[in-house]
Amino acid sequence: MKYAYYPGCSADSTARDQYLSVNEVAKALNIELSELKGWTCCGSTPAHHTDKNLSIALPAANLLMAKKTKLDMVVFCAACYNRMKAANHEIKTNPKIRKDIAAVLGEDYDGSVKVHHFVEVLLKDIGAKKLQDAFSHSLDGLKVASYYGCLLVRPHDITQFDDPENPVSIDKLVTIMGGESVDWPHKVECCGGGFALTRTDIVLELSNSILNMAKAAGAQCMAVACPMCQINLDMRQGDINETKKRNYNMPVVYITQLLGLCLGVSPKKLGMDKCVVSPRPIIELVRTAE
């Protein structure tokens, strides 16, 4: 199984742990992720805040690179995933935009490259049985709040990822690993996303309500699939405790880090030392539940 892999800018920076764990999980499951050579930024939120054509041309440039490899594209960052899908959608449904983008890129792109989130690859292409066979450890006894955030699931017409109000993909993976996926209402609430630097007050408010709900549901940790959600819920937890008078101590890890642990990969190789709230209790629990 081979894919063109688009890691996204955060893979080099704030979400190094996501990059490391995706690679480790792919390696253990024989999924070949061939990183797109010379990939460029998708433009993320600042691009669609600024210019519509720019916000489509940037992802389209990468989709065009992927098209030349004749492979489907795999993305992990929810924001990049969303922008790739949005570009495909616009180009396919709006002939004027397709023409404009062709003029910018110097080549016509038809919107045909299939884009998958890594979680979709795990569930659809690998499947529960193969995953279970590959696991050497289990999440037995661990209560996990699966958190999806905004950009994977919305707008559903464009991303086509699971159910937009009650997605279960990450929950399924947790259950396959032997963990308990808690039922909670904030799966698709917004964490404040791109406001990390500009409107930290909004991030603290929204992330507080998400952490509050995860804790109330009895979760011992949160599993995420988006670099912005991870850093807001993890790195800002101390600030939330301070400003909102809370005492959260909730590890927020990538779903691929949990998968890596179950596949027997060392926590260091999965970048778990980069978490701000220590994931040590999870690591110990997985080891004893071997």
């Binding site: 920076s13 010379g38 990939w39 940037l58 910018v104 930290t200 980069k274």
Partner: protein, 186 residues
């Protein structure tokens, strides 16, 4: 929110928003599903349905002063739940684009500056360069002391790269910016 309708009818903003976003807000029923689901309405005076009402009633440039314009997190819950399939997130994008174009963005946090700097690093390196962007943003907003505790920790944990990436096809990105986006100069 009190909507002020001026005697002289301004159709320009409503038309401009529609031109940029491709979204016709006239079909809005004011069911307020967008406002109920919006995660920031607990913090804002203006709600998404107010923006739509304002556009329908040609409230014009006063809409730029709505706090929601730069507090909208682009989570797209409004669009997802709209029974008339109005892409409210795209309408908000259009309002921000027009606010910047008309020099009418005076909001806390200066999101417009952040956007500009983010895209500037993308134009320069093909990918984002967090440290450069954060430093420039702090200079631009005089917020030097905010989050100073985070930076050494992020460096130590390897959660932020010291140098920009030089692996991307910069010429390609530069071409995209030069062709399609002359307002952002690097």
């Amino acid at each position: 929110m009190a909507i002020v309708i001026s005697k002289e009818i301004k159709t320009s903003l409503t038309t401009e928003v529609q031109k940029i976003s491709g979204i016709d807000t006239r079909s809005c029923l004011q069911c307020k599903k967008c406002s109920s689901g919006c995660p920031v309405t607990a913090l804002t005076k203006v709600h998404p349905s107010d923006i739509n009402r304002g556009l329908q009633l040609n409230a014009g440039d006063t809409l730029f002063d709505s706090d929601l314009v730069w507090m909208c997190a682009s989570c797209e819950t409004c669009f997802e739940r709209c029974p008339m399939k109005i892409n409210m997130a795209a309408v908000m994008d259009a309002l921000r684009i027009l606010a910047v174009r008309n020099n009418a963005s005076r909001q806390k946090g200066n999101v417009a500056l952040f956007n500009k700097l983010f895209l500037k690093t993308v134009r320069m390196f093909g990918r984002t360069y967090d440290i450069g962007m954060i430093a420039a943003y702090k200079l631009g907003t005089s917020s030097y002391l905010k989050d100073t505790d985070k930076f050494p920790m992020m460096l130590l944990k390897g959660k932020i790269a010291l140098t920009p990436s030089f692996k991307s096809d910069k010429k390609y990105t530069n071409r995209i910016f030069a062709k399609k986006h002359d307002r952002i100069k690097s």
